[in-house]
């Protein structure tokens, strides 16, 4: 499509819809985008920090699994519309197994009678062997990859936009990747459509601004934003997901479908621009070091915000790698108290459990004792002046070396029913292993992305 620029010079523009901001996100807004959004690309960002590690565990049990659990539901919902309108799909729903995800998508397409679709899987983000060979140091704590021993589950590099863009240029209708930087999912269609050079740092920086703004879907259209009386947002139950109109010169307007819920305003765009950003002048990406420090945000119409001024500098020689490992076990128990004296009984309950865990010798490396409704979110200092609530929920959680010890923590809360303060109700407990992630930096040339085509 074409947009007019001032004196009549035509600037090529694409419209990219953001169909999911995390793996469990709502599905109807993506259907709405495909049906009514006049988009050429639909991107689904579905891969959380530790999701690949969990998916890798699933894949070890079943070689045809390890991709996003909602892949089938999402693809079935949007494929017929996207195929009929020629909308290309880009997603990281491949998780730990992009090829199996591509094969599954091909099966779904076939079952829907869509046999002409070209589906590409991007592989090569799995860099476990290279990380082990180099025994790379962990960024978050003292230690190296090899020191994680048999706790190590996965190591996946954040790939850039280039292989996804190449897949689109080679004719892919659907591109499925595993670990890639989230903004790169959006940058790929821009590079493909406009032929941006991979060393045009300012364009890649501004494209990264666009991708960063769109990647969390509803978070820029009024989700994670409403604060009644201060920041009111209409119709959050029918929140519309965002569309980025991107010009070949990097010009960006963020908008949404007229009549959908939510709002796109300068405020929603500013909040999302800084979301999960550290130094705004150095936002490290696989393709560029983006600079958000000079970005300007301007409302140009209802639910239309122009975002300009993103820049960039040369990319680094390393790629960030997300390392999944078994960290520890967590045991937890909860129980509620209400009415007059609820707070005092809640505090008594915490003291009893504290003493019981000591008396019975439960081995923990970290423990938390808190009252939900009083001090659970920000601790006793921040919440010191809060009023007494009608009801409180006791919560005790602890970190242990094994599941057996973790189970004992919840048990000591549950036994408050018959051994603790008066009128405790709704006890609940859990014990689970903790798959955590850490990071290493891998020399860029050691990750070797490849494109694998699967026909429908």
């Amino acid at each position: 499509m074409y947009a007019h620029k001032g004196d009549g010079d035509e600037v090529r523009t694409i419209r990219i819809g953001s169909g999911a901001g995390y793996s469990g996100d709502r599905i109807e807004p993506a259907i709405e985008l495909a049906e009514k959004g006049d988009i050429q690309y639909l991107v689904f960002e579905c891969l959380g920090e530790r999701t690949v590690a969990l998916a890798q565990q699933a894949r070890m049990k079943n070689p045809e699994s390890g991709y996003d659990p909602l892949l089938e539901e999402r693809m079935r919902a949007v494929l017929p519309i996207c195929a009929s309108k020629g909308i290309k799909i880009v997603t990281n729903m491949g998780a730990a197994n992009p090829e199996a995800a591509a094969r599954k998508t091909a099966d779904i397409a076939k079952s829907l009678g869509l046999s002409a679709l070209k589906i590409a899987a991007i592989v090569g983000d799995d860099v476990l062997d290279a990380c082990k060979d180099g025994d790379l140091p962990i960024m978050e704590f003292d230690g190296t990859i090899r020191q994680l021993g048999n706790r190590l589950l996965s190591a996946n590099a954040y790939l850039g936009a280039e292989p996804m863009a190449q897949a689109l240029t080679a004719g892919a209708d659907i591109v499925i990747t595993g670990r890639a930087s989230d903004p790169a999912l959006f940058l790929a269609p821009m590079i493909h459509a406009f032929g941006w050079a991979m060393d045009d740092w300012n364009l890649l920086g501004q494209g990264t601004v666009a991708g960063h703004l769109l990647e969390c879907a509803g978070q820029i259209t009024g989700g994670y934003f409403a604060d009644p009386g201060y920041k009111d947002v209409a119709d959050l139950a029918r929140l519309g997901f965002p569309i980025g109109e991107v010009g070949e010169d990097g010009g960006l307007v963020v908008t949404k479908i007229a009549g959908s819920g939510g709002a796109v305003t300068a405020q929603t765009c500013k909040e999302q621009l800084l979301y999960e950003v550290h130094d705004p002048a150095k936002y490290f990406q696989p393709d560029v070091v983006a600079d958000f420090s000079q970005v300007k945000v301007e409302e140009i119409g209802p639910d239309r915000v122009r975002v300009s001024g993103g820049r960039g500098a040369k990319r680094t020689d390393t790629l960030k790698v997300s390392v999944g490992y078994v960290d520890s076990y967590i045991g937890e128990g909860q129980i509620s108290y209400a009415g007059p004296g609820a707070l005092a009984r809640g505090r008594l309950a915490l003291e009893i459990v504290r003493e019981r865990l000591k008396l019975t010798g439960v081995e923990t490396s970290e423990l938390r004792f808190e009252l939900v409704g009083v001090d659970a979110l920000h601790g006793p200092d921040v919440s010191a002046h809060a009023n007494e609530p009608y009801e409180v929920r006791v919560r005790v959680s602890g970190r242990t070396e094994n599941l057996r010890e973790a189970v004992r923590i919840g048990n000591e809360v549950e036994t408050l029913y018959t051994n603790g303060p008066a009128a405790g109700g709704g006890a609940w407990k859990s014990a689970r292993d903790v798959v955590a992630v850490a990071s290493v930096l891998l020399p860029r040339e050691l990750a070797k992305p490849q494109i694998r085509f699967v026909g429908a």
Partner: protein
């Protein structure tokens, strides 16, 4: 008055680092915010929550400040014992800061 009267805010998380943006509703309040919402004040407001350093970045084009708080998420989002492991609720807590209005009544 509370910071909430002049600014809005959003929390993001990466590993054990939390970032909180504080954005003036009106550009005219940005100087006041820049003067009073310092890294040191944010660090002391989150005593018991933030164990590490707090660094402030200024974005005058957006009338915004960005606070990056190290060791703020109970050892990291993926391993934290906290109820709100992501620290998403921290932005609202920061808006509870007291702000002394400017002398000219702004």
């Amino acid at each position: 008055m509370k910071l909430r009267e002049i600014a809005h805010s959003r929390t993001g998380d990466k590993g054990n680092i939390s970032n909180i943006s504080v954005i003036a509703y009106d550009a005219k309040d940005f100087p006041l915010m820049r003067e009073q919402v310092t890294a040191a004040r944010v660090k002391s407001h989150f005593a018991g929550v933030v164990q590490g350093e707090v660094v402030r970045y200024e974005l005058p084009n957006l009338s915004a400040l960005n606070f990056v708080m190290d060791q703020a998420l109970g050892g990291g989002v993926t391993r934290s014992l906290a109820l709100d492991a992501h620290g998403k609720s921290l932005s609202s807590a920061l808006l509870d800061l007291d702000i002394v209005p400017a002398l000219d009544g702004k």
